[in-house]
Amino acid sequence: MTITEKLAILADAAKYDVSCSSSSSKRVARKGNLGSAAPAGICHSFTPDGRCISLLKILMNNYCIYDCAYCVNRASNDIPRAAFTVEEVVDLTMNFYRRNYIEGLFLSSAVIKNPTYTMERMVLVLQNLRETQHFNGYIHVKAIPGASLELIDKAGSYADRMSVNIELPSQRSLQLLAPDKSKNDILLPMQNISQQIVQNRAERKTLKKSPHYVPAGQSTQMIIGASGESDLDILRLSAALYDKFSMKRVYYSAYVPINQDKNLPVVAPPMARENRLYQSDWLIRVYGFQAHELLDEKTPNLDMDYDPKTVWALNHMEQFPVEINQAPFKILIRIPGIGIRGAQKIVSARKISPLDFNDLKKMGLSVKRAQYFITCKGRYYGTVSCEPLKIRRALKPQKTASPHTGYEQLTIFDQLAALNGEI
């Protein structure tokens, strides 16, 4: 089998992993060695699905012994299989990197023979890249649940980011759809990595020269809409993951129906759901919201027509409208339609002189949603009066869900908002 065929198979098999971030690592360049990590991350290309290519995202091999219902690589699927040798992965990474195609390597693998053997092969690639080639670019590596912790530790000493996929939002779904994986196998390495990161951070405070351990943090991913959990369950789980394992990111991946299985839904969940979950995730992580502020037992699912911040604001109209010339930053970012950058601009400009409504437009802020939740110099500028029902009607999206595909057509800016985290 040629390298081209292998690459086609093993990149295709890896593409459902969402994470492609190459940020947060400060690995500095060394003269005479190849590579550096850019703290902001760099996207090198964009595929027709609108996702970026930042890392060479591939599997070591796709001969899997497991049979997870949702996965394209499950043992019972009749698909072409392939396996890279260590040298092939190293060669591809180095040569793609030299041509500035990629920011680094994202290495994952199907479980071949057993988890420890699989992990060993991956560590060999990392070791070769870092020690033989002196490669100094970004590496994201998957920890294989069930592999020996020493190996995972060793991988961590070479990698910039590690991740263990939690796969599904509850143990029940995991048993149903991924019977070979257990919750403990997943949580154990996760916990181990998080402890090591904390310990390494502390060490580096006193000993600046001590080697990095997963400097860009760990992340995880779960599949949305393949099982019956509500959005509230999902957000609670991610809040706990951020809290307990100091996760850098939790990724959500709307289930794409690739396999037929009696336990799987036939139609894909709307993409809008993934989008709304990301928006909520951002609100929790960056904007200082709590999961229970966005959802509760009475309304366990996110509204598809309105973004979660607008929904929250409409339910808390007693706190609005807010005077933009006085409200502190923390309150400004809670106004629908005003994000971190917008709030920074407001705080900056009002130091010079008080702002009126036109000033906001001049600054390039979008007032489509914000107009109903703010006053400028005491005056309210919304096109309808400040009542939840009227605002709700004014903000109702014009487009309806397309009946053919089950996918909701999103406007580009809604999706962008999810990607930028500006809501």
């Binding site: 390298i3 081209t4 690459l7 086609a8 198979i9 990149a11 295709d12 890896a14 593409k15 459902y16 360049a29 060394r30 003269k31 005479g32 060695n33 190849l34 590579g35 550096s36 850019a38 902001a40 760099i42 996207c43 090198h44 290309s45 964009f46 595929t47 027709p48 699905d49 609108g50 996702r51 290519i53 930042s54 060479l56 995202k57 591939i58 591809l92 040569n95 793609f96 030299r98 041509r99 500035n100 195609y101 920011e103 794409v256 894909a268 993409m271 601009k345 900056s348 400009a349 130091k351 010079i352 002189s353 000033d359 906001l360 001049k362 600054m363 390039g364 580009i412 999706q415 962008l416």
Partner: protein, 247 residues
Amino acid sequence: MIIYLYDGSFDGLLTAIFDSFTDKRPLDIFRQEHYQPQLFDEIISVTTENDKAQRVADSILAKLSFDTYQRLYYLYLSELPQCDYTALCYLKMCYRYGASIYLAKNNPLIHRVETYCRKVTLEAHRFTGFVRFIELAPMIFYSKIEPDHNILPLLQGHFVRRFSDQKFMIHDLKRQYALVYDLHTPYFTPLTIEEGEHLLTSKTTDPYQQLFAVFFDATTITQRRNLRLQKFWMPKRYWQHIDEAHD
């Protein structure tokens, strides 16, 4: 209208700012190459003088801030309409109100400065990703780009640090010059399109170019096509030099 014409270098712009600073008449600043003569214009040719430029730079750094100086440089690189005159007005404003006037984002001039600077820094960041090298000979790489703004000086640091063990050249076809790194000191040199093509004739194909195109196709999730999003992040005008890109 009084027109100050300068040679197109950053020092030239600073000299033009020096010369025109106290001129109270209605005026404008242009680079020689961008200027189109108008009937009633009175032209003042600025001769670049390094010590005048140095005095402007020193004054900005001492009395205003490094950020202000950097913004002037970005305005200069932007090559957008009126960017030189905007630089002069912005500088006058800073001297009048202090560098913190940049906080007044609702002021139209500040808004324009911010927009122009953002365009330049955004494009510079994008091109840290969109540059595509082709291997001419073992460990010698060549890339051609056509950015909207003159961002090559901003790319220098990143590429030299990252690819410190390979010789490379990034060729700006629009402005006909190139950044060259030969493992020692990086430098800029004029380079025409024909000379660039001549470099490429020695090279037929790069096998990894083909491999990356295969990767690009394989990693696309066809069920989730979203061409508008793709073009938002990677505008189509850049595609001619990004070999794998297609929709």
